[in-house]
Symmetry: C4
Subunit: 274 residues, 4 copies
């Protein structure tokens, strides 16, 4: 076997390990990566706490270098083992993977400017790596079907909520005014969102009796309106759960989505496989 | 063709563009109007921020004049192209359209009183124009059917919540009293609404142990009560979603509950009536 | 006709007007009573606002006397027109009706002690009269059926929430302690309820990182747990809505709850009335 | 009958009383235990209030000794009456039962160190005994079936919420920074959880306009996302509730969907198979 052939074989083997999870080594790779990502997120979080950074800054630096080198190796292997590297490099995860390793190396070159704000921000992007974990979560297909089916309705609903908040915010700006904390319409709209969604920080709160009346109406509205997205998702999920269609397709016309106990195709009348 | 005829034709053409959205020009008109409305709402919001008003007041003034003239032309064309102008003028949108253009012209006449409060308030009414956008949103018919069907039940529910808040507010007024911030019954009722709807500003909060006990009960009540409107909307939507199956039964085996587009019985394979 | 007979007739007529709502005079009586109750609640609320009490105290006093005399007449007529007065007098509404008239008369006798706290508290009981309005609300039977059916489940749920809050409150008392506002276990339990129900006043908030971790878990728990009562009511309402049973009972075995399109009794097989 | 036999009989009798609830004495034991647990929880709570501890400390001490001795007797009897004591001793309740009696005895030995913090913490563990009460709550089987069925989906959902909060918290840390209260990423994540779950303490709140914009998006997101767990539980419960109809179809007309207790077909009146 030629050298080229063994190179190809290695590439194929690596692809199997990195991009697939069926083989034992593929599974081990996934678990190691998962732990590394969780550790890197933990380090990013710990680093942002001043007291920890002061005391254990040296340890965190070492830990970060370990993670960075691990991620760098992963990044290089991913490019090496795929047939079309560009596809990976310019994908969402490709960009995130790149941005989560580069800042640490840059910090070597820009020694003096160690605390460069932009660099720090770049390093925080590593948090997005956590999204990779979502791949490991079981698909939970029905939930996704129901959510996709209700996407349009929920968009309409959110759009309606936004318009409502703009109008209610403007009304409150007229009633309460700057002296009660409603200094501008965007700020009033922010308050309306805080109130309608029942978050209620309390940093801005109506002071005049009439303002409190309007606020009460907004709250009760928000309390009732929340029923709408909930109802949408509930009904969709119920529908998906109840119409337990079996997964086979008709041997004659290929139509699927038959009733669970169907014996004949609802479309062409052929006998279905039991 | 007479002049009158061509006038009629123009009127008809304009009606098609302004009031209908089927023709290409009608669609372009709609999109331009939509952008203009969103821009006008944005300007209203930006204008209310003092720092922006100070810096970019001149630019905002020009932008507002452009919007005002655009809206004025639209208003005149709408009156011109409709057969019964009064119907439009005194409709909700007609009044809003009028009120959203007039204040800017008034500001020319009442030069000295540029900051007249009433005028400023009138200008804010332009925000209601945003409601026009709701026309462009897909009808989402089923949602509307379900909401209309649950309107009566939700009204009963909101009425019950209001009575509950009045009673609970009065009780808290007796328990906590003015020294703990519950200075009057309306204010206590306001607090009860803030608490029951789980908004929880924290501007008024019970201080006495007994008051906190009652408050705890109100919170748990609010936490459980929210299930009612949600349940109402969910069940209505589920009903609407589920009754998609057609109502006929198989002429051979009498089975019903066929899929909406079924042509053959899923049980015995007989041809269903179309 | 003897005097006694005409007395009986008057009593019967009054009973019809006061206790029934089918006759025109009965309806008028109901509407007048409804307005009087709403007015009395409004007066109680206004009276509690110090600034209004100071300015319009005299007017409010007159208005209260009018309401008190109206309610007194209603109370006397109710006792007079019913066959078993004791049944009314010791009913919930009978006690409330009595307590909502008496304090005003007592204020005449106890002139000096006009601001007697106990008396003031008694007068506030008039607010409970607002519950009478609930009688006028359409029954909304299905909602009640569903709520009654879910009562047991929701009780279990609320009981579980309470135990959870006691345990979580105790844990937070140990973690945060008196120096961070968690001065006692009942107060910590109060905080746990405020947090779990997503009310979130912010008057007590965890300060230590570990406390904030536990608080985060409580919040996410509360956010997920709210799904349970909502799910209970939704499913019950869906069941009630979907199983549209017709209201007739079997002419043979008297069983009811037949399927809407049932033609034969599911219990004894007799033909049902169409 | 030998001594050993009567010992065995006593042991069996005790087992019946303590571990089973079918006999009258078993029921009385359960009720006494239940009251003792509730009382002990009440005492733990009261003890933590400084003002009550000062005034009634002596009484509380006596009450605690009574409870401690009662629980000790119960603990010994439980060990004595079970065949495999180790199974009970190392069970969750066994450990809790032990830990809820020991601290009081330790306080005798460690007289000087009466307020030992660790000891106090141990005594608070008695609160967990309240979990025993949950055994007395009717099983509410269907609720449990539905919750178990939705466990996987809700876990996925909570995991997704957590990732969302970490990312949103990191973004807010970059936008707002330490000067606006977002001093570290964990604290920002805590804020994101407080906001997304609509708790909204207000101890940390965004100050910059851009931060308030992101906060608004988080709130609306939280307001919409809550629909997902609710929908999951609702649909599961609906499914469980609705599948109460029996699965057989009529032997004569083949109609299915009969009521669970139906003996005759609702469509043709034929006798159904039992």
């Amino acid at each position: 076997m030629s050298k080229k052939n063994s190179y190809k074989k290695l590439k194929h083997k690596l692809h199997e390990i990195i991009y697939e999870a069926d083989t034992p080594t593929g599974k081990i790779f996934d678990i190691v990566l998962l732990i590394a990502i969780l550790a890197s997120v933990l380090f990013v979080m710990l680093e942002s706490i001043d007291s920890i950074q002061e005391k254990h800054g040296y340890l965190l630096n070492i830990a970060e270098w370990v993670i960075t080198i691990l991620f760098s190796i992963e990044y290089i292997l991913r490019i090496f083992s795929i047939n079309k590297p560009a596809k990976y490099i310019f994908s969402f995860y490709g960009v995130i993977d790149f941005l989560s390793t580069v800042p640490k190396y840059l910090s070597l070159i820009l020694v003096g400017s160690h605390n460069l704000v932009a660099l720090r921000a770049l390093r925080l992007l590593r948090v997005f790596r956590i999204l990779k974990i979502t791949r490991y979560v079981g698909e939970s297909n029905r939930l996704m079907i129901a959510l996709k089916a209700s996407k349009a309705k929920i968009s309409v609903f959110l759009f309606f909520v936004l318009i409502l908040c703009i109008i209610l915010g403007t009304i409150m700006y007229m009633i309460e005014g700057a002296e009660n904390g409603f200094t501008s319409i965007p700020r009033s709209v922010y308050w309306a969102i805080v109130t309608l969604t029942t978050v209620g920080y309390g940093d801005i709160a109506p002071q005049s009796p009439f303002g409190q009346l309007i606020a009460s109406i907004i709250m009760i509205l928000g309390y009732a309106i929340i029923a709408i997205p909930t109802g949408i998702v509930s009904s969709q999920l119920t529908k998906v759960e109840m119409t337990e269609t079996n997964t086979q397709s008709c041997p004659n016309c290929l139509k699927s989505n038959h009733k669970e106990n169907a014996e004949f195709c609802y479309n062409c009348g052929s006998v279905l496989n039991p």
